[in-house]
């Protein structure tokens, strides 16, 4: 990318605007931004609910927690929470990595780990709810 820009500057006599347009939008930039907001809005009620709901079982033993998690009224919002949470987390951590990591290879590797890690964590969380339903 760095070479591409300087090469272009050397043998390119297009106007500045035209050159900027040539480097510009891939037309997908707003996608991540929009989903960051959509998942945020979904998380507002889900986080408040889960905190209130968690407080009720947090002192209980394993039986209490599994029985609580297996109830449809808890399992469904919990699964929704896990999906929205790890989606939101993947988008947020990706932005942070893209802003502060300046070495391209490190950046790409970190973003890959973030996104795959969030997917794995989300799947693991949903699996835990499924196992609780089977056990309960």
């Amino acid at each position: 990318m760095a070479n591409g820009v300087s090469e272009m500057r050397d043998n390119d006599n297009r106007a500045a605007l035209s050159r900027a347009r040539g480097l510009g939008s891939a037309r997908t930039g707003v996608h991540a931004w929009r989903w960051q907001r959509v998942t945020a809005a979904i998380l507002v009620p889900l986080v408040i609910w889960s905190l209130a709901s968690l407080i009720a079982v947090v002192g209980g033993g394993r039986e209490t927690v599994v029985g609580w998690l297996a109830r449809p009224g808890v399992a469904i919002p919990t699964i929704l929470l896990l999906i929205a949470l790890f989606w939101h987390m993947a988008l947020g951590l990706t932005v942070v990595a893209e802003d502060y990591l300046h070495h391209n290879g490190v950046k790409i590797a970190t973003v890959a780990v973030i996104q795959f890690g969030c997917l794995a964590l989300g799947v693991a969380g949903v699996m835990a709810v499924a196992l609780a339903i089977i056990a309960g």
């Binding site: 760095a2 945020a40 407080i55 947090v58 896990l82 949470l85 300046h102 964590l121 835990a128």
Partner: protein, 129 residues
Amino acid sequence: MNNPSRPRSPHVQVYRPQLTSVLSFGHRLSGLFLSLGAVLLVGWLLTAATEAQAFINLNAWLGSLLGLLLLFIWTLALFFHLCNGIRHLLWDAVIGFELVAIYRSGWIVVFLSIALTLVTWALALWQMG
């Protein structure tokens, strides 16, 4: 684009901290810290659903002084990220985007996140007896 000899901006350390910049950085910092909490949440759910002994060990660690301290900071980070996140969503809808309103909502976020954290812990401790 990755030319390291070019000057970098902003040089954060030369600016006097302002409520706006501190809360903005705090939003990222709390998001990073909450990501660790999300890993713990999945661990807690998975051990509850599968491994009795691991669940007991995890709960015992969470009940220790360090565990309780971390849980308290996680609660504060959660309420701060939640309140400040709503502030950001309102800005996206072009609500409260004048400088006076930005400072007012900033202080509301600070006090509300502390108050909600204290209320949550009072409720949790009262519930546990």
